[in-house]
Every structure is written in C-alpha cells, then in structure tokens.
C-alpha cells in the first residue's frame, strides 16, 4: 500500500514536473519567508533576554519638557537620583550606574579608542554580563581593576587569557594603569546596553568632573534599578513624580525645564526606545508586528496556493479515485492515501524551505542589519507542526471531496466532475486577494525605495562630497591645541578647507537656548546654539542668504575678542530662525538684535540656508551660530578635500594627526558615513521590502498559474468545441487571457487606495519627502498585469493551439 502510494505520487510528479515543482517551490518559499520573519521577530523581541533576570532590571529614563517644545525622553538620567531612590524605596533591591565614554587605551604600541563603561562597584552583580574568566564579586573590587571583553583582550594581548595583565587608559590626557581582573564574553547584538569593551570603576576625579553626579539637570549615563517583581517596579514608577518634586526641590542644579523620571524594563526597552534618545536605536513594535503579520500572511497565501493547486489536481483525479473505489479501496484507504501523499509533498517543501531559510538568513542579516541565527531546537518542531497542519489540510480536502463522488457517475460518463462552482469561485477570490496584497505591497516598496534614494541624495544645506569629520579633536585636553591641529590638516595635500564646530553631522548632543526679541509675541522659541571656528560656512559649503558671514575684521564677531561684560555679540542665524523670530525675510532680519543666554545681546549679521545635520524625519529647528577663533569645547574638525580618494585622504589626515599627537587615537569618518545612520534604516527596509514584494508577486502569480492551469485543463473540451465551430486560435487566446487576467485588473482597483493611504502616512513622517506620484501606482499596476499575462500565456497558448481532435478524443 505505502509503496504503491509513493509510486503513484512519484509518477504523477514526474509526469507533471513543472506543476509539481511550482507547487512545492511555492510552498517552500512561503515556509522560508515565514521562518525567516519568525526568526527576525524572535530576535527583535528577545533583546536583553539573555541577561539573567533582565525583566526585573529597569533603566531610569528622564523626560525633559521645555515650554514650546515636545517632551523629549532620554535613556540617561542624573546620577544624583540613585542614593535618594535607594533611601526612599525599599522595593529597590539594588541600583547601579554606568557612564559610557570613548577613551584611548594602549598596551605597548597598540593604541585605539575604546568604549569604556565607568560603573559603580556592584555593576556586574546587577547587570550580570556573562564572564569568560575571573570572579564576578572580585572583578571590580579595586578602583584600578578593569573587566574587558574577549575581543578586546584578543586585540591588546593576543589572547583571551589576559587576567592580571596591565593596560593604560588615557582620561582627558591623564594616564592610568588598570589591571585586568575579568574577561567578559562579548556582548550579543540583541542588547539595549551601550557598546562596552572595558568596564572600570568611577574614580573620584571623574565624579568631580561630571556634573551629573551633583546636578539634577545633567545626565551623562544610565542608572539601572533592580526589583523583585513587576509590581514593586510599578509602585515606584507611580511615585516618581513626587520623588522628583520632593528631592530636587531645593537641590543644587535644579533642572530648568520640567524633568520627570520613568522606569523602563530592559526587556521592554528595545521597543520603547523608538522615541527615546537611547544608545541603541529601538525598533517600532508595529514594524515587528507587521513583519510577523507578513510572515504569517506569506505562509497562509503559499499554503492556500498549495491546497488550491493540490485540490485542483485532485478534482482532475476524480476518475482515478472512482476507479480505485471500484477496485475495492475503502474510504479510509483513500483518505490515508491522500494524506500520505500530501504529507510527503509538504515535507519535501518544508525541507526545501528550511534550506532556503538557511541560505536567506545571512542575506537578510546583511540587508536588515540583524544578527539572526537559526536555532534548530526551536525551528524543527515548528516545521513539523507546519507539515502536519498543511499536509492535513492539503490532503483532507481532496480526500473528503473525492470520497463523496459516486464512482458510477464518474466512470460512466467520461466527463470530469465539476468539483463545485463554490470551489472555483473561492479559488478566484483567493487569487484576487493575493494580488491585492502583492500590488499594494509592491507600490509601498517602490515608494519607500524612492524615498530612501531621495533622502540619500537630498540637499542637506551643506556639501557632503569629500567632507571628513575628525571626532577625536573634541578631547578636552586638546582645546588649547585645536588651531595647531587644524593648521596641520590645512597643510595636508589635497585639503582645501578646514574648520571646527561643536555641532556636526549626527551630532551627539545639541544645546538649545530660548531666544527673544523686542516685540515678539508668544513664547520665546528655542534655538539650537552652535559655536563655529574659522572658515566654517566655507568648509561646509553653507549658502549665505542675506547679510555677511563672520570675519576677522569685526571685533564683535569673535567670542574671544569680546569682553563678557559687554554681552554684545554678532551672530548668524538660519532661515528657520528668521521665521521663528517673525521676520518677514532674511534681509529683514539682518541688523536686528535678539536676546540670548544670560541677557546677552545678539546682533544678526547674516542669514544662512538651513543645514540638516540630523534625521530627515525631524523638522529643522531655528538655530544661531557664534564664532570663536580659538579652541572651544566639544569641537570636532571638518575637512574638505578635493581630488584625493577617501581612504588615501583618511590616511594622510591620520599621519598628520599622529605626528602631532602620538598618544591620542585618531577617530574620523566621512560626513556621508556619519549620516548613513539616518537613511540606512529606510534603505534597509526598502531592500527587505523589495525582496518581500518580489516574493509576494511571485506567490500571487503562482496562485494565478494554479487557477489558470486548473481551468484550462477543464476547458480543453470547451475550447475544442469552440474551435470546431470555427473560432481561431487568436480568438480563443484573447478570450482565455482576458478571463485569467481579470482578477489582476480588479485587484489593482482595490490595491491602489490601500497603498495610497499607507504611503501618505509613511511619507508624512518625513520632513523631507517625495511627492506621492500616480506614476508609482501605474507602474506597479502595469507590471503586475504584464507578469500575470506572462504567467498564463504559456497555458493559454498551448490550450488555444491544441488540435480540437485531441481535445475531443474519447469524448
């Protein structure tokens, strides 16, 4: 029996090879999409779950509210809050703080900038990172001890067995030797913790230098609180507003704007961090949900197609089934036969699907920036369930359907039973739904892709070509030497302009000040404040709209030249600033004065075009520029070069830096590289969606193919008759193609408004965006139509061309 079943299966596969291949491959593709997306969803929702007791560890976030601006949540918070929290709330089992800093680290000749986490001594007991070597309780018992990751150990010592070795860390120019007391396993990718290469304790000098240790209005790192359970955490969370009011009321450095604190469980943080200034960008829960939905949809669609094709085939097999009944097969035997056949097919599809998943995972990781891995212990049971479920459905339907046929009817007439008008209609509807999905998905993909391309090329108000930003200039100990360093850069061949500023593409922090002017109605707008060095506008290529730029000739241009008592400076503002202050035009603003920090008087000498250093999603803020000809805090250098390859220029700048500052690691990136963070997610999404759209269209076409093959086989006789009655091949072809493609036409009508609504919402999230042109819709619609025609063409042609005699044989 079983061997016979397998022979029958094999024969029918071998005889209908294309049909079988499409059927199985379609299902395999659906299974693969489902598995890959399941893995991604699992990855995205599993952040920090590898960390022991992560669901009871909470990050203390701060939310700042300045009048006139939207509240702004930051993952870091003042370090002052920890002791009072511990004192006020016994529910808090433990608390620890961490301040990430970039620090030059050296061992012998190896010197590089590393992510150093300064922490409280109990850090590793609260955030229990996995240790490869060393003792957790002893690791940070000494201020001069350091825990390093395996990779870091390998990098500096050539081995992970580095306990007891010494490394040197440079803190604002002061060097300190630290002894390695523990080796950490490298942190997994799915973490919301900021990158960590080294962990060492806060030192008194760091605590003194960091305002967050004394100041409620300042934050430099993260505070983690550990609770026994969620209820305790909730009760503390509920009391935090009164805590802030109570404890910060007469404390020093009281926050000017409204500060509120909140708790975020580490296991929730990744989704929560979408709208938060966090070390690792969060992901929108809705994105993950939609991935899960798409995965499920792909699976369901592929399964429907599979069942459709399988049942279409089984309708054609009614004669065989009737015959088997005559031969004495019982209903049970037939049922088992069909189930076994279906299970075997689905199992093959699942195996191929697994192989496809294995192939797809690295590609998807590269496309979407994930670090997904296949865990077979979880995947295999899932696949088994799928096989049983799908095989059951695919085998059960034809079994029941066919077992119901009366063999006498089937065998006496040589006609194939109709299999029910309902079934045919349902198949048509399912294909229609698939095309609605595929077409709207494809339109969205096209729009997202175009928007991503637009963002990459969009005018940001400055010229990105050949612009390199040297981040390492911002080390505090280098302030007095900034101009010397910039002069060294100026001498590098190929460099055409050099400047420094305390804001740059993808600036880490932004300070804002409220700015007023006589006669201004309403609240004072918040302006971004940026200090710039010589040649700033020239180096960045910012357009002057009115007035003049800073120059050496005007004494009040340069912060250095002005005595603070004067409190009278010259400033350049941006176009949005003109609007925010209510001037009619840039020309109108020039020569006017505004009031800034500490009652300073700022005279507007020029207006420049808006510059976009941050995300294209965020609106441009009003901004004013101040000029400082000497060094100033947080300054990073910008270097424009011409005619030299990027890598070569980087090399030359590094050499220039090394000659001058052998002890400080050189950290630099292109402006483009720094900005990539803003368009990369959209580009990644676009690429991923493209892959998804191609698959969706493929699956839909497969459904159409099944529908077409089903009805053509059935209509061979009808077409034979039509042709005997004088219809030409062309007539028949036109008839068939129109009938097959009709669901695609209808699908377009439904899909367009859906896609339009979705994309209007998507584009509204961008400050800079493309118009939603009807061309996208037309292009996708025509594409789908073309593909649909190609899909059904071969079948239509072969049926239309067949000699009627063959079609009518034995009838």
């Amino acid at each position: 029996m079983l061997s016979h079943t397998l022979v029958t299966l094999y024969r029918s596969l071998a005889r209908h090879r294309l049909f079988a291949a499409l059927n199985v491959l379609g299902l395999a593709a659906g299974i693969a999409v489902f598995l890959v997306l399941t893995l991604i969803v699992q990855y995205e929702s599993g952040f920090d779950r590898w960390l022991p007791d992560a669901s009871n560890i909470y990050r203390l976030d701060s939310t700042w509210t300045f009048p006139g601006n939207a509240p702004y949540e930051d993952a870091d918070s003042t370090f002052v809050a920890m002791q009072p929290l511990l004192a006020d709330y016994p529910q808090i089992r433990a608390a620890t703080r961490m301040m990430p800093r970039s620090r030059p680290v050296s061992v012998g000749a190896t010197i590089a900038s590393e992510s150093v986490a300064y922490v409280d001594p109990n850090f590793l007991n609260v955030v229990r990172l996995k240790l490869a070597e060393g003792d957790r309780d002893q690791a940070l018992s000494n201020p001069a001890s350091v825990a390093i990751t395996a990779t870091t150990a390998q990098k500096y010592f050539g081995t992970t067995k580095a306990l007891g070795r010494i490394l040197t860390i440079s803190e604002d120019g002061t060097k300190r030797s630290l002894t390695v007391t523990a080796i950490l396993q490298d942190l997994p990718h799915d973490t919301t913790l900021s990158p960590i290469n080294l962990i060492t304790r806060f030192t008194p000098s760091i605590e003194q230098a960091t305002r967050a240790f004394t100041n409620w209005g300042s934050a430099s790192g993260y505070t983690y609180l550990k609770f026994a359970n969620r209820t305790d955490a909730r009760s503390v969370q509920a009391d935090l507003p009164s805590f802030v009011a109570r404890r910060s009321a007469d404390a020093k450095g009281r926050p000017e704007g409204g500060l509120s604190l909140s708790l975020v469980a580490l296991t929730d943080a990744h989704f929560h961090d979408v709208a938060v200034d966090a070390p690792i960008p969060g992901v929108d829960r809705r994105v993950v949900f939609s991935l899960a939905a798409i995965g499920l949809l792909a699976l369901v669609m592929a399964a429907i197609n599979y069942v459709n094709l399988a049942t279409a085939r089984s309708d054609l097999r009614a004669r065989e089934v009737a015959l088997r009944k005559v031969m004495g097969a019982t209903r049970r035997m037939l049922l088992l036969h069909f189930l076994a056949e279906a299970m075997a097919m689905v199992a093959v599809a699942a195996l191929i699907g697994l192989a496809l998943t294995e192939l797809a995972v690295p590609v998807v990781n590269a496309l979407g920036g994930w670090a997904v891995r296949i865990n077979y212990a979880q995947i295999v049971p899932l696949v088994l369930i799928l096989v049983i479920l799908l095989g059951g459905v695919a085998g059960f339907y034809p079994a029941i359907l066919l077992a119901a046929y009366r063999p006498a009817v089937v065998l006496a007439s040589s006609r194939t039973p109709s299999g029910g008008r309902m079934g045919t209609r349902l198949r048509g509807l399912l294909v229609l739904i698939q095309f609605v999905g595929a077409i709207s998905f494809a339109i969205c993909t096209l729009v997202i892709d175009r928007q991503a391309a637009f963002l990459r090329a969009a005018d940001r108000g400055f010229n990105r070509d050949g612009l390199i930003i040297v981040e390492s200039l911002q080390a505090p100990e280098l302030v007095s030497r900034q101009n010397v360093i910039l002069d060294a850069f100026r001498r590098v061949p190929g460099v055409v302009a050099v400047t420094q500023s305390d804001r740059e593409p993808d600036s880490e922090d932004t300070s804002t000040t409220n700015v007023g002017r006589p006669g201004l109605i309403g609240p004072e707008p918040h302006f971004i404040h940026e200090t710039v060095g010589r040649d700033y506008f020239h180096t960045y290529g910012v357009r002057l709209l009115a007035g003049r730029l800073f120059d050496e000739a005007h004494r009040n241009d340069d912060l250095r030249g002005i005595s603070w008592d004067d409190r009278s400076f010259n400033t350049v503002i941006n176009e949005t600033g003109v609007e925010a202050l209510g001037f009619r035009s840039p020309e109108d603003a020039v020569g006017q004065t505004m009031t800034g920090d500490s009652h300073s008087r700022l005279t507007i000498i020029g207006v420049v075009a808006d510059v976009r250093f941050m995300s294209p999603r965020d609106p441009i803020a009003p901004q004013y520029y101040m000029y400082n000809s000497h060094g100033f805090a947080d300054a990073q250098a910008a270097i424009r070069s011409q005619g030299v390859a990027r890598a070569e220029m980087m090399q030359r700048l590094q050499t220039a830096w090394r000659t001058l500052l052998p002890d400080v690691p050189f950290v630099a990136d292109t402006a483009d590289g720094r900005l990539s963070e803003f368009y990369k997610p959209d580009e990644q999404r676009a690429r991923l969606f493209s892959a998804g759209a191609i698959l969706a269209v493929g699956i839909a076409c497969l459904g159409l193919y099944g529908l077409a093959s089903f009805s053509t086989t059935r209509r061979i006789k009808e077409i034979g008759i039509r042709k005997t009655l004088g219809a030409s091949t062309r007539d028949v072809l036109a008839l068939l193609i129109f009938q097959f493609v009709r669901p695609v036409l209808i699908a377009n009508l439904i899909a367009w408004p859906l896609a339009w609504g979705a994309m209007r919402g998507f584009l509204a999230g961008f400050d800079q965006r493309i118009p939603l042109s009807p061309l996208y819709f037309i292009a996708v619609g025509l594409g789908a139509l073309g593909l649909a025609i190609i899909t059904v063409l071969s079948q239509a042609v072969s049926v239309a061309r067949a000699e009627p005699s063959r079609a009518l044989r034995y009838e």
């Binding site: 029958t8 024969r11 009944k325 004495g328 035997m333 006498a408 065998l411 040589s414």
Partner: protein
C-alpha cells in the same frame, strides 16, 4: 450466485424523476456468461453498476451468494468488490500516470498480497491478454484495443468470481472487438461468471444467455443454443 428481486432504481434531480430500473427479478448462476442488450437509456449500465455495487438500488434486494448486499455498509462493499469483482469499462478508465503494469497491479493493491506474488499474478494476467510486451508503457502510448486488453487484465488479475463488462467492445474495431470477446469467452470457460452489456448481436451470441431490456425492465431472457 446472483439473486435480484423487485429491484428499483430511481434518479431524482430537482423535480424530474427518472426510473432507470423497474422491479427487476433476475437470477444469474455461477459460471454463466450473460449478455445484456437493449436500446440506449434502457438501464443496462445502471443494472451493471448495481451488480458491481458502485451504485445502490432505490428499493428491492440484491443477494450475492448468501450475502444481502443491499444492507451492507460502504466499507464492506469495498471489501466485496476487492475480493469478488472485476470491472471492464467501455472507455477503459486506465490511469494516465501509471504504466500498464502498475495499472494492472491496481487490481491487487487493496488486497493483502505480498509483492512477489503480486508481480507474478500481474505478469500472468498480462500474458493472458497478450500485452506483456507493453508492460512499461503508459496508457496513451497504446492503441484502443491494447488499452481495453490491459483493462481486462486489470479486471481479472485478482481471479474474481464475477466479471462485469460495460460495452467492452464499444470503442473497438471489429478485429480488436473479436480479440476481447475471445478473451472473455476463455475466462468464462475457465469458470468465471461474466455479465456483459453490448450493442453487438454477434458478440451477444458468444454469451450463453442473453437478456433484453426495455425501459428499465427485463423483457426477454433466453439461453443460447450451444
């Protein structure tokens, strides 16, 4: 062996009622070779289908030996067909996806017969009808006569007591028809009971008994002189 008494078969579709068989009383003994004749639509196929248990009478009794088949459940009927019945159709009804050999083997797969024995029976049955050289071919690679012989081989492979043939020569030319009739006559000579529907008087003459039907009734039943 076969006892039919008061057998009726009604087809009801929406509001039209067709009586295909009207109170048939018929006895067929083991070893008989019966030819059923009659005009188109008189109920020959219906009668044969009921004999083959792939259709059920509306009323009346059908006994096979001592078993009342009219009251048996579907599964038992399947077992009955498996063990006692061979069926030959006018339009062959071979499965396109299986080779001739495998098609014939279909007559055995639902019985518990070891593979080796099955092979031997299939080979013997193919020899019997003279299509052994086509064993590995597919049905559409064979002529109509060859296909019908293959279908007969399938019907007889299990050594059934009863062979039912519905116009077995209907789609065949004279020569092929004669071949098929030879085979059937030979099978009958070896002891098989055969009930055959035919429109050909000469083929009906080969049978030992002839039943004429009209409008769902048996009108004449005569034994041929040998």
């Amino acid at each position: 062996m076969i006892f039919l008494s008061g057998l009726n078969r009604l087809y009801r579709s929406d509001d039209v009622e067709t009586t295909a068989l009207r109170s048939i009383d018929l006895q067929i003994d083991a070893g008989e070779f019966v030819a059923i004749m009659g005009p188109s639509g008189c109920g020959k196929s219906t009668l044969l289908n009921i004999l083959g248990t792939i259709d059920r009478p509306t009323s009346g009794q059908y006994r096979f030996g001592d078993t009342d088949l009219t009251t048996l459940p579907e599964a038992a009927l399947a077992i009955f067909r498996r063990n006692h019945l061979g069926y030959v159709f006018q339009s062959f009804n071979l499965i396109d996806d299986l080779t001739i050999e495998e098609n014939i083997e279909l007559g055995l797969v639902y019985r518990k017969i070891p593979r080796q024995a099955r092979r031997e029976k299939v080979a013997a049955s193919m020899d019997r009808v003279g299509i052994a050289h086509r064993a590995r071919h597919y049905p559409n690679q064979l002529s109509g006569g060859q296909q019908q012989r293959a279908a007969i081989a399938r019907a007889i492979v299990g050594n059934p007591q009863l062979i039912l043939a519905d116009e077995p020569t209907g789609n065949l030319d004279t020569e092929n028809g004669a071949q098929v009739m030879d085979i059937l006559a030979g099978l009958n000579a070896e002891g098989a009971t055969i009930v055959m529907v035919t429109h050909s008087p000469s083929h009906a003459d080969i049978a030992r008994r002839r039943i004429d039907m009209l409008d769902g009734r048996v009108v004449i039943s005569v034994r041929n002189a040998i």
